[in-house]
Amino acid sequence: METPVYFAGVKIAASYNHLSDRDLADQYYTNGEQGLLAALFSRYRDLMFGLCYKYLQDTDLAADACNDIYIELVGKLRKHEVEYPKSWMYSLTRNHCLMKMRKDKQMPVDNYAENFMQSEEGWHPNNEVQEKEAKLNALEDCISKLKKDQQQAVELFYLQEKCYNEISEITGLEWNTIRSQIQNGRRNLKICMENHESN
């Protein structure tokens, strides 16, 4: 379903699909080849569109924002060496939309600021086996310390790998409530785990 992205009427080179985000950004930073940027952009265009819609609440505005962000990328990625293009582009998109809203005086209520901080964890996984083992033990301990509803949601989601709909059927709770319990459970687990590490 992925729609091809063209640059100056030329399809993005197929070889670019095998390059990582970092490689695309680095090569674009080095040689300014627009196809590289288009390849990188096309990977996140749909997420960008969804994100922009969340803030701007209008498909036309969201589409315009995507175009504007691409234009920003053209210059900015030539100026800055970006280590994590995905998180960098997310921040760029979010800031662009917030700026746009500020300009139009529609400041949003940011419900996901803390989630954004938590998400860094996912982009920097630690694969050390011993540490993992220790963490698993600590995790079990921390889960047992969670509130009952949070503990249930976390166990169903992470340990039994149920989706929100299934959890909803099991618990009788709404989708948003389940997500909220899982998020809160995650945050409390993180705090608990950090305490374990410091001890």
Binding site: V5, R22, A62, T93, G122, C163, R179
Partner: protein, 354 residues
Amino acid sequence: MSQIKPYTAADILRYLDGKMNTAEMHLVEREALSDIWLEEAIEGYREMRKQQSTEAILSRLAQVQPVLEAPVSATASARVIRMGWIKRISYAAAGVLLLTAGWWIFNLQKPTDPILAPEVAPAILQENTLEPIPGITDTPNLAEAVNPTTTESSETNQNKMDSKKRQAKNAPQPVSPAPKVDQETAKAEIAVSDQKDAFPQTNDSNIGEVRLDEKVTASKESPVHVKEIDDSKALLKKITAEKSSARNIQTLPLMANLSDNITILTPTNPSDATPAMGWETFKSKLANILPPNTNSPNFQMNWTVLPNGKLQQIKYPELKGDKKSLEALQKLLEETMPWKVKDTTQIQEVLIRW
């Protein structure tokens, strides 16, 4: 480095529409918990989904695609190009403005006649003074005025002036407005004008001048004018007596008698400062240029003669607004240089009244 393929709008919409199996859904949700961007995008599509159907959203995304296809690249490059053109046009406009301003300033400061004394400063004029005559110097101090370099350049200028004189000779003489003088002068003028027709002329450029050495057939003239013509001829001969021996053909202005109305107030002794062409010729030529004085107070003009023979601080307020006369006077004053100054250590004032 392997690259995890990000979720697309279609994937997210499939998830939202419940078209994924539970395992896939769990995977999306788990991914979303650690990927804030995906989570927020899902949130966005969920909002979108409330307003529009999946087909409509995908269709809208497809409509966005052309904007993202051509424009994504084309927009970027087009903007760059547009910016480039804007910049180029701005620079070009600025350049043209600068050149125009520069040319204008240069022309303001530059003498209109580059042949004469281009190295000297413009004349310092008083409030009631008209524009400085190009080529007339305004040397601020005497020492500079008698500077050898200046003298040298004035020699060069003399050569240039000679050439200019030659050109001026071949060119038509400035036509002065018909002066309103007393009845006697007017008669003489008529007579001399008639005389012009009577005398054969070498070419058109000699209009206003008579060749005195050629014989005039008096019978061609009306008897009334014959005596007046003779009187005029006598007067002209008297005026040009000094120079008549040098050349067989002597040219003089027709209205030479008008020069009688011109009085040199200073220098009291005209030989203290003499124009290159001599006072009489200068006065004669000046008479042809000056407008008639119909007002009771006399008109006057004055200037300073520098020791190097150049003029400065020329004032001729009565000619203000009379472009033709101004130009002619300017030309004439150029021809008067260099003036012969008796005392080269002093600046000589010249005051003329008519």
